[in-house]
């Protein structure tokens, strides 16, 4: 799975962190650290985390496009 978080949009509401603790971590009060390429087993948690963000800062690759794994 691939995701990237727009950390400019992120304001540290941290609604996402408890929903996917294996993938998202709060560092200090506000900074978000995350695993950009987590294991597929985390998919449900990550989907919930994406939906929970009030500023929609998490960009998740929903389906890898057919031409992704290129030479």
């Amino acid at each position: 799975m691939r995701l990237v978080i727009d950390l400019n949009k992120c304001q540290g509401y941290a609604q996402c962190v408890p929903l996917a603790p294996g993938v998202l971590k709060l560092v200090g009060e506000e900074a978000l650290a995350y695993d950009p390429n987590p294991d597929e087993s985390q998919r449900q948690q990550v989907l919930r985390a994406v939906a929970s963000c009030p500023v929609q800062a998490i960009i998740l690759e929903l389906d890898p496009p057919a031409d992704r794994d290129t030479k």
Binding site: R2, L7, N8, A31, A33, N37, P65, R68
Partner: protein, 475 residues
Amino acid sequence: MSSGVKGTYSFDEIVKQFRAQGRIVIVGASLAGLRAAEALREKGFEGSLTIIGDEPHEPYDRPPLSKQVLKGWVPADHTKLPRLRRVDADWRLGVAAVGLDRINHVVKLGNGEEVGYDRLLIATGTRARPWPNPEEGALQGVFTIRTVEDAGGLAAALKAKPRRVLVIGAGFVGSEIASVCRDLDLPVTVTERGSGPLKGALGGVISDIAAEMMRDAGVDLRTGVSVASLHGDESGHVRSATLTDGTVLEVDVVIPSLGSIRNVEWLDGAGLAAGQWGVGCDAGCRAFDINGVVTDHIFVAGDVARAPHVLYGYEFLALEHWDNAVAGAEVAANNMINLEVGRRPHLPLPSFWSGQFGVNIKSVGVCSFGDEIVVTQGSPADRRFAAAYGRNGRIVGAVTFNHGKWLPYYAELIERSAPFPPPPPGYDRPADASVYSGVMPARFPDPREPAGNPDVVLTGHDPTDRSAEFRPRSH
């Protein structure tokens, strides 16, 4: 009486034909290159797309490389960028562009091949400035940090519990690396030739706060000093560094964090406005030639671009920001397949973030354009505050430390060039007795003072400045 007779030469037809059959080449296969390719397809470009990248990797995200990757939480190659859509491109990865022939519309590659284009996007970004002494820079244990290989190597070196880490340069990346070292409980020295960390980007007032944060976390921060030389052992591994004040430090890992170099060498001789601060382009991402005439078929996006910005006196702004790459790529893509009224400007409100020492530092605008600063909310002692920068009575930038929810308030003021000092939003104003109440000089470094290469550069024009520089070609 109408002369609106349809001519035989229709620009609308040209655009339609280009979108169906044109050839676009994107040089640069990282964030800006990828997002431009996706935007082109999304906006209806159906012609041929070639993407050239000198790294042998598909596009990956760099910000995590100096944070969670170095900490060892995430493997270095775990930052591949999510794809927003199919791009149907001919990817040439692991081969560099080495020249541009604008007359024949051809990009020359390092393997001898040539790629023809109808329209070109330059998105070659930057690379880390290497340690100036190549022999010392080649010692094991010396790492610059930009690529996935750099990050993987450095993460492994930190995991091996070095006696001491030396970070040369206290800009954002250097500070983040020092922060990771402290998270890993490693002794770390940071040398900064200027008078404080982050001074070029955020000014002396904030720099003092950042320096305190660093020292509170146990970093051995030395300002006004740099590294004269590095020394290795017989096996070719770095073991010590001599500072400019004569001190010798025993160090096992050294990270020169000296800023970036724009990847413009491949454009030598092409006659574009390419130089130290990138490739000059207009507010619609179209490259200028060396005489200031805008080109028609060459566009620029990302870290390598510099463009005039209406909010900053139309000075050319060169940004090394993540969202500048994303937004600029999208505008460039739109403008590559449109003419005139279909085009949009790229007018980024510069924004960035940096996570260090448990604090989330965020900023909008060009703080270094200001000469005054006022802490408007919160408490610097608590490392939770907002501050605004002003110039000539207008707000030009803002920074927050663990106070990011307030940043959009200041962003909106900056976009309107609202008066400075800005009206505080009414919440958590600093106590009057605090040393930080009121407007004070922001203390940006004098350009004559040694300081870092900030991530936002206003390359202003001084009408009295005429100079030419001889740069011998490296080949």
